[in-house]
């Protein structure tokens, strides 16, 4: 008995829901061998703005959660990602035209990335903060806080990166309590949307991560100029006119991470690229 497959409709991930593009636009996604895989949603300016609204609304809840809680939620992402391994292996091998074992290794790396960053949630502040010995009767403490809404461009077409690339850009931004609007790999967006399904079922509150598929060249300028976006991670924007994106982001003095080739390493620096240092001076009584 043969079973006729029921192909999934790949949509955007905004505010915890999976809408089609409000524009009604979609684009054809093909496999590494050129075969039709799906029609992905092609995000519009309105979708990008909706994603920023959702991300902004999610900031207070996510940044207000305890660091321990954020760590558990990110660990839960790893659990669920691992549980859906077969689907991701399938998507990666068809998108990238690689063997199942190579795809499996990429899923392993993605899972380990979530675990690694999950562990940082309640530790990075101890490494990046400071108790400051000021010359006076003050208790003076510096602590890192999230910047707010981070827009990221996932690596585009990076070898072995259709899933790992977007994970490596989203996960570090979430550690401190930022929320994210991510632009997926344009040509290989399917595992990014499946990652959205993992996030949606992993106790990550709606709006904390928003994933847009479509043309980064089209979407990134809308996010770079958006006044309610606090930081711009251009890691995967090397193939775009990223200088123009940086200039545009400067209008609202966004924190900007410049492009880098390939898939970014796991690094504490990627967490610290999206934090602000707050220093509080507490007066001590003269007793």
């Amino acid at each position: 008995m043969s079973h006729l497959t029921i192909p999934k409709t790949y949509k955007l991930y905004i505010g915890g829901a999976f809408p089609r593009s409000e524009s009604g636009r979609s684009y054809e996604v093909v496999s590494g061998k050129g075969a039709f895989l799906a029609n992905a949603a092609k995000a519009s300016r309105k979708d990008a703005r909706d994603a920023v609204v959702a991300a902004r609304a999610a900031v207070s809840g996510w940044s207000g959660a305890t660091a321990y809680n954020r760590g558990q939620v990110l660990y839960r992402v790893a659990e669920l990602l691992d549980g859906r391994r077969a689907q991701f292996v399938d998507e990666i091998s068809s998108a990238e035209g690689v063997s199942a074992s190579a795809a499996g290794a990429q899923v392993d790396e993605a899972v380990d990335t979530w675990v690694w960053y999950a562990g940082w949630c309640d530790k990075f502040a101890q490494v990046a903060g400071a108790g400051n010995p000021v010359a006076g009767p003050y208790f003076n403490l510096s602590v890192p806080e999230p910047t707010g809404v981070v827009a990221t461009v996932a690596p585009q077409g990076a070898k072995g990166g259709s899933l790992l690339g977007i994970v490596r850009t989203i996960a570090p931004a979430l550690v401190a309590g930022n929320t994210v609007v991510a632009i997926a790999d344009e040509a290989r967006p399917l595992s990014a949307i499946s990652l959205g399904e993992v996030l949606a079922t992993s106790d990550v509150p709606g709006g904390v991560v928003n994933i847009l598929t479509g043309s980064p060249a089209e979407i990134a300028p809308w996010l770079a100029s958006h006044a309610d976006v606090n930081a711009l991670d251009l890691t995967g924007a090397g193939g775009l006119d990223w200088v123009e994106l940086e200039v545009s982001g400067a209008d609202t003095l966004k924190r900007i991470v410049r492009p880098e080739p390939g898939i970014p390493d796991r690094a504490l620096g990627r967490i610290l690229g999206f934090v602000e240092t707050k220093t509080v001076w507490h007066t001590k009584a003269l007793i």
Binding site: V134, V243, E246, A250, T277, W281, H282
Partner: protein, 489 residues
Amino acid sequence: MKDIEPADGRFLEYAPAPESTSILKVRTDYGLFIDGEWVQGRGKSFTTISPSSEKKIATIASASDADVDAAVAAARRAYEKSWAKLSGSDRGKYLFRIARLVQERARELAVAESLDNGKPIKESRDVDVPLVAAWFFYYAGWADKLDYAGLGANPRPLGVAAQIIPWNFPLLMLAWKIAPALAAGNTVVLKPAETTPLTALLFAEIVQQAGLPRGVVNIVTGAGDTGAALVRHPDVDKVAFTGSTAVGREIAKTVAGTHKKVTLELGGKAANIVFDDAPIDQAVEGIVNGIFFNQGHVCCAGSRLLVQENVHDEVIDRLKRRLSTLRLGDPLDKNTDIGAINSAEQLERIRTLSDIGEREGAERWSAPCEIPENGFWFAPTIFTGVETSSTIAREEIFGPVLSVLTFRTPAEAIAKANNTPYGLSAGIWTDKGSKILAMADRLRAGVIWANTFNRFDPASPFGGYKESGYGREGGRHGLGAYLKSGASK
């Protein structure tokens, strides 16, 4: 009481107590300090005046593009040939020398600062200059401990740092920029503000006295063109700027697409929040210090007073009484509380914004004080009945002008305090520690003072959220702004 209380209600009058300027030997004109030597500028020279008398102090050279090029080249040579090759402990020793020289010449520097900037001598003498020495002393000790700066083993300097500083704390801003840069092993080209170049030029003499290798510190004077040439110079690796948000934006655009690292300390519109359970007298002193320190020419000034509604009248009454005792006048007089506005241009901006405040319906009150005939002056002024949408609640005035708003609940105070594109500083006044901590968590600002205001320390990171800029100065964080990881590609 009758015998000692004069008819105008003042309890005591003070005789003039001017600090002597004889300690200060100002040359009639100054060149640029490039590669360890004084050279003539190729731009059109300009005059620096004392804002309290409008009298000329000295003629100052202006650096052309070619001069900036020479300064960057000198810094590059020094970086490659001497400074980066020195051991950390030797770099540290040079910085310790500078700290000591600043202490030795402290009074002279304070007089020069008050003369050129217009700030009261009690501030330049007791705040600015001691902090300058402290800044060099603090970072001197870091120079041989860079492995502990938080960037892993063997962090590396960035190279040549271009540093542009404002006119409100001329020598202190120089120290904030130069001390961490040199400790980390960078060399610098620094441009002081056009209206306050004097102490940076005296600092060049200190650099000579300290025997620093030539080219490690270069000082180029000039206006905005000089600064712009420095920022866009291709051989600069780091740009550090303190000044307006508008210029900061331009700098961020100029460096877009380059390898340059940037630190920006920009404008602010800080909320100083007074709860009804605050010690009111202390809060009043904090409000005064928050906005009238340095004539309000402070990016982190507490320019928006948010006072809990039920104590508004009491706070404002006491504040007015306190402001009536402030002494405005000769910056070199040891009893002066409020000095001169730094420039005619800044005075015009303060006047314009104050007039707008009045036109928009806020109630204006100025301390009754005599305004000297010459120079640029503005009496301490408060506006009550200010709305969150008022221009004077949104725009940085950078002068001795306080906008007063009210709130009823902590949530309202937080919403109003954060209702600004800026996020540099904030103040909280309450006797309740748990309230301080909860408020501090929710205020989107880089520096928060609880039951105090405008405190600075070299060990304490300083810098803004949002459009107040990015990067930190001070502490280990400030050192990291001049380093890159030894492992980075």
